[in-house]
Symmetry: C2
Subunit: 623 residues, 2 copies
């Protein structure tokens, strides 16, 4: 039984939280009405849930150092509840009421959905169903890498539980026993255009979430005593992640918008806001909530033995670049001890398994759940790790929304897509990455690399690790000859001119598999006295504009060859780099529906083989 | 209690199925060894499950008319078990042993993973976790549209149950009470590089799948009597979809590969195959299985009252193109009675709700589960419907793997992405579609349309419905002025030259929001005596090469302007169309990290506004 003093202190805290909740509601209404847009009702439903979390001593956070390693983490998977997110930090005294009035205004750090412009946002959210995966990454980091006791809290909406990505996050969290991951499910019944599939039937969520291996706690999401008890229970959990399943009312606190259709994503006009504020009653605008500080512990540092591995490939033995990837990641790890490898159940194909065998504690099997893998990588990246995320290039399309969102979070993630192109052969189109270069090029400030041999792969994996930002590295299934010497340098934005003469009639630009085809074409044409320049465009983005301009001036035409669809790939990258150059640019690419077959058969069929290049060059000579 | 004759008949059937299963195993081993690649062990584990389904009278299929509306449907979500898929049709007598030996060979209909080149494949599969959604679409069609009693069976692997998309399919199937959808989960314990998360613990699957509202039946996947009883029970299910959860052995039937690591995706060499065939014992190669025929019923036809709606927009009242989409779909429905609308919980934003209100039986709410929505659309398309799939353009990236796979299934799906570009304003980057044009351009033979006003939207929605194939239509959030008269025609591959003179110094190409900016820029420049050509590139793919070539010849330079990232969008489409033209092509596009703000502020910030266009034109004049 709590003591009298204990009860008094608790009652005081409850009273204070009530006042803070009222203040938060005031902020939510005021900032959205001022902005003329936003999601007040979605924010009001989770107000007590967040006020209790932050201001009852459960959440431990050093606000002066938001990124500090010991802080608990709070992610709003329901990113549209951003007014609530900003409001709680205002209630904590970290931002002012005046700041709140800049909500959604151009140049404000308080964007419509949280971005990392706001110092307390762990990541950009707003595309639903992604926050739990980010939390998985941060929790994996806490439990297995940093080995710190911080917890990760994720506020979830009920509508977004329809997203399969949430269930990926849940299964992986349970599998990895992430008892430091706590979800708070705000079941307010209403989605955007009407009721969710299950309304307030908490038992549906409870059954499903517990079947996925989580501990569940059901509660009234507006009862401060129930919420506090739920958090107390949650942080005592062992071996299992925990989900608070809270019955809430959308628009809670304002009678005329409570639990009503038609109020999603709608700000109150000034008159409505005045009425709403009256309903709130007395608002103590001076009150501020205190957040407990975390312990100050040191993250576990990885101190790998300096391996002094060298790049070692016999010049006469072809090696698949996917294998060189595995070797490279393993070799460079001592230089980049924050590296983590994530793979989607294909590590024996992507060769992430080489790294896994050398550094098993730095490898996480993420199973066939690419969306969660990408989201967890973002979480790990935000916690200072360098995730290398590997699967087949084709399957990275599965995670493209997560990849898209990562660019708004200053992410430092390296994506590695193997089995690029038709040249994978008999497995057929479902396994062929043919649009991966295109999708990764759209990512702001991304780097897109496509090495053609083991040496350049080794070098570029290292460049990728050195580079801060999103990198995509494309690897090949088949073994390819060693072209380069270990002493050669490769840079992001660079290229290699491999064949050059004063008589070059055309420039042929390839990468990966087609670079080798281009060299073979060069040989064949040379025999007939026809000379072409051959460029290895191993850096597709940024592209080596200078070398391309030079080739454009020196040779009559450019031919790009890629084992990729025509749109958005190497051809279009080159055309953009040479957009103001008059030289004609021809693109050999995959233009026909691919099929099963031997690699060389398919290269010929798609007219991206050595023979097709020779044919194209000769065609051009006739013009 | 079965009668003696009943028992005899049943025992004969069981004996025959055993022989067929042996024959199927023979086929699987033989075809993969001949091909030198493939997934025999994954095929062997589901052999009895499939033999029982097809040859016990449960499955009803008219093999002479694979696409016929009354046929049951069979989808291999675990597409890598293609050897099993082809083997069962050989056992049915539909293809020969000789055909099987063409497996994975270039030009064969028997590709490495099933594609629609094979007449009995309902869709291309091979990217895991997608088959159940396709099944959802086919089952929705049976229950709610065609109103036919056919059932849809989906063979699933245990590894692929990690994919969130499967749980999307499951929740939607339960919600829509698809008791005509039967999943068969082949729990063989082993994934690609090792054991799955749950091994043979069927209870994990059972708990989860039943919590998602499915009826579950656990069984020994190699016991013919248990399997037959399970199917009998499954087809009697009511109101709930049914999942058979079968404990199986990967590689079953060949002792040295049964339940062993390292045998995923590995064909036996000839010596191993000989040994394996010996283990199979006597193979009756003449035996063939019979498949029951379905009833011959007529699908329910939609006979909409001819609405005779007209395109009607007052010329002086701006309308958002997203709203025109809703109007258009509703207006054209009588001409296209196979239309179905699917939306992802945003129909009041995409305006699919207009269609929903007019034709509620043709609309399916798919909730916040875009992957399943796209997969279900494929299923509906394969059953002769014309799905219009709508959500925010940004969220179509969530379904990009499903969209990618649809191109290998001769799909007829129209994707409609609203809220394109930074011009959505205050909601910020998570909600902005900025890479959607790029991703849809990569789809083989896709059509990409981007109308700038309500009239052209109405016309192009109709063109999209007429066109057979994958179409992407991009719509805008804000209202835009009516530019065109209702009598104007718009064609796939067309464009409109809106401003033209003999003195045009540059051509400005825009679409959607930026087309209006271009017209405003034209006005402003005209006042200064500077003339530009303005082209509405409403068809981005295929692009109107003729008009572009003409503009390239007539004006000194081309400026493309798009509310989209630089890569893969309008700029690169135009550069590709003019790849051999010497004219310089400048691209105004979104190049800076977008943020919240007013639409016009953002257009200016990203330098894709009227002012930016004017500035660019003047810059060029100085060159």
């Amino acid at each position: 039984m709590p003591s009298e003093e204990g009860s008094m202190a608790e009652m005081e805290m409850i009273e204070k939280i009530k006042k803070l909740a009222t203040l938060i509601r005031y902020y939510i209404l005021m900032m959205t009405t001022e902005a003329g847009s936003g999601h007040p009702t979605s924010s009001l439903s989770a107000t007590e849930l967040m006020a209790c979390l932050l201001f009852s001593g459960i959440f431990r956070f050093d606000s002066d150092h938001p990124g500090a390693p010991n802080n608990d983490r709070l992610i709003f998977s329901k990113g549209h509840a951003s007014p609530l997110f900003y409001a709680i930090w205002a209630a904590a005294g970290e931002i002012s009421e005046k700041d709140l009035l800049t909500y959604r205004k151009f140049g404000s750090a308080l964007e419509g959905h949280p971005t990392v412009a706001f110092p307390f946002a762990e990541a950009a959210t707003g595309s639903l169903g992604q926050g739990l995966s980010i939390g998985v990454g941060m929790a994996l980091n806490a439990k297995y890498l940093d080995q710190l006791p911080y917890r990760t809290y994720v506020l979830l909406g009920d509508s977004e539980m329809a997203e399969g990505s949430q269930w990926e996050a849940m299964e992986i969290a349970a599998y990895y026993k992430l008892d430091n991951l706590i979800g708070i499910l705000d079941v307010n019944r209403l989605g955007q255009r009407g009721q969710t599939m299950y309304g307030w039937d908490l038992s549906v969520y409870e059954k499903r979430i517990s079947s996925f291996g989580w501990k569940t706690i059901l509660l009234d999401g507006h009862s401060i005593t129930e919420i506090l008890a739920a958090y107390e229970k949650a942080v005592r959990g062992k071996d299992q992640p925990v989900m608070l399943i809270a019955r809430t009312i959308k628009g809670k606190g304002v009678s005329f918008i409570e639990n009503k259709d038609g109020w999603h994503g709608k700000a109150l006009n000034r008159e409505e806001c005045d009425r709403a504020l009256k309903e709130l009653g007395e608002v103590d605008r001076s009150i501020r909530g205190e957040i407990s500080l975390p312990e100050d512990l040191k993250p576990k540092e990885e101190n790998p033995r300096e391996e002094k591995k060298k790049i070692d490939y016999p010049a006469d033995k072809p090696v698949p670049t996917r294998k060189a990837y595995g070797n490279a990641l393993t070799r460079i790890f001592p230089k980049f001890p924050h590296t983590v490898s994530l793979d989607g159940e294909v590590s024996n194909s992507t060769y992430a398994e080489i790294f896994k065998e050398a550094y098993p504690k730095r490898f996480f099997e993420m199973y066939i759940a690419e969306q969660n893998m990408a989201g967890a990588a973002l979480g790990l990246s935000r916690r200072g790790k360098i995730p290398f995320v590997s699967t087949f290039a084709a399957f990275l399309t599965r995670a493209f929304d997560q990849i898209r969102m990562a660019q708004y979070s200053d992410a430092n993630i390296k994506f590695v897509g193997s089995h690029a192109g038709v040249s994978i052969g008999e497995d057929g189109p479902s396994q062929m990455g043919l649009e991966d270069i295109a999708i990764f090029r759209t990512i702001l400030d991304s780097v897109v690399l496509y090495p053609c041999d083991a040496i350049s792969t080794e070098k570029l994996v290292e460049e990728a690790a050195k580079h801060r930002g999103i990198v995509y590295l494309r690897t090949t299934r088949k073994e390819t000859p060693i072209l380069y010497a270990p002493s050669e340098e490769f840079t992001i934005g660079g290229s290699k001119v491999l064949r050059k003469s004063e008589e070059d009639l055309a420039t042929v630009i390839g990468a990966g598999v087609t670079l080798h085809e281009a060299l073979a074409a060069h040989e064949a044409l040379k025999k007939e006295g026809i000379f072409i320049r051959v460029i290895d465009l191993y850096s597709i983005k940024p592209v080596d504009g200078t070398t391309l301009q030079e080739a454009a001036r020196a040779t009559r035409s450019i031919i790009t060859v890629e084992d990729h669809y025509a749109e958005g790939g190497i051809g279009e990258a080159v055309r953009s780099a040479l957009a103001t150059s008059p030289v004609p640019i021809y693109s050999l690419s995959v233009k026909k529906k691919p099929k099963s077959g031997k690699p060389q058969e398919l290269l010929d069929y798609e007219e991206i083989s050595r023979d097709a290049i020779v044919k194209k060059v000769k065609e051009l000579l006739q013009k």
